[in-house]
Each structure stands twice: as structure tokens, then as C-alpha cells.
């Protein structure tokens, strides 16, 4: 996530008791919106599986603990860990969904 996205999320966490609807608006327009975009993309490639579930799994695997670290402003020393988590996320996602993926191209 970009630094200003984190900054906005911090501001909303800090202020959402004074303006109670803020958290819901933020959540719907960022996290749920992004999940829906991934879901739309996956809907073309999956059969017999709920694309929302698949999108949620992919996002959970990719963000693995990062959101909490970013909100608490704990930085990684380098990008190696991020690359490892991305590789692992794709491996796990493909293990779960490889039988349900529509092949758009000939093998």
C-alpha cells in the first residue's frame, strides 16, 4: 500500500468514534471495492467456485500480516520478504484453485 493510503487509514481509525459512519464508508470503498474488482477478474477464469471467496483468499494470502505491520508503522528492512510472501500466496492459491481454472489458451 502507498504511504498516503496508510495515512488515511490511520486518520480514520483515530477519528471513527467521533464520525461513526467513516469506518464503514472507508471499508466499503477500499477493501470491499478492491475485493470486488479481483472477484470480477477471477469470475472469468473460475467455474464451480465463488469468485468472492477466491478473491478474499488471494487478498488474505497476499496481505498476510502486512496491513497490521503498516498501520503500526513497522517497516521491513528490504523487499525480499514481500517477494517470498507473494510467491507463496500464488503457490497456495493455485493449489486450491488449479482444478477450477478455465484455460483460455490451448496448452
Amino acid at each position: 500500500m502507498r504511504d498516503d493510503t496508510i495515512e488515511i487509514e490511520r486518520i480514520i481509525i483515530i477519528n471513527n468514534r467521533r464520525i461513526p459512519k467513516l469506518g464503514n464508508i472507508f471499508y466499503s470503498n477500499t477493501f470491499l471495492y478492491f475485493r470486488d474488482q479481483v472477484s470480477l477478474f477471477l469470475a472469468n477464469s473460475l467455474y464451480d467456485e465463488d469468485p468472492d471467496d477466491a478473491a478474499m483468499l488471494l487478498l488474505d494470502l497476499c496481505t498476510s500480516g502486512f496491513n497490521r505491520r503498516l498501520i503500526l508503522e513497522l517497516r521491513h528492512a528490504n523487499n525480499i520478504l514481500a517477494d517470498q510472501i507473494a510467491d507463496r500466496a500464488v503457490q497456495i492459491f493455485m493449489k486450491i484453485y488449479h482444478k477450477c481454472l478455465v484455460r483460455h489458451h490451448a496448452d
Copy 2:
């Protein structure tokens, strides 16, 4: 998570710029500590797999978006969704790790 745990995390997010070490201490003593406990438990049951990775996956699957919702104080209407997410977390975890689990009892 319990309400007071959420409250403490909110207070730390709000104050960790004034007391920069706070976030790190909190993260190590809660999230990492919990992951290590799950990892110790799994280490007895897994072979040929990193128990830290397995613990991380199980926690990611179980917390799926919940932490963000709780910190933003968005509540679910009931526990049905939580039960569905728990069932799904275990199904996915077993799909990934069923070949690596040591059987402690005769089948």
C-alpha cells in the same frame, strides 16, 4: 479478539508516533507470540514443512479481514459469517498440509 484487546490495539495505533517503540513491542508480544505458539503446536504434527509458514497461513485464513473490521469497529450482525470463515480456513489449511501431517493415532 476480545474488546479490550481491540481497545489496546487502537490506543497503540493512535499513540505510536509519540512513543515509536510501542508498536514493535505490541506486535512482538501479541501477534508474533501467538504465531510462535501455533507454530510450536504444529511443529509436532508436520514434517518437511516450516511450522512458522503453516502457523502464519492458519492465522491469515482464520483472521481473514476481521482485524481490519474490528479496528474500524465494524461489527457483524451475527456469528454465522465467523463460523463460515473458520470452516473454510480449516478446509483450505488441510488441503495444503494434509500430506505433511504426522498421524499420531492409528486410522
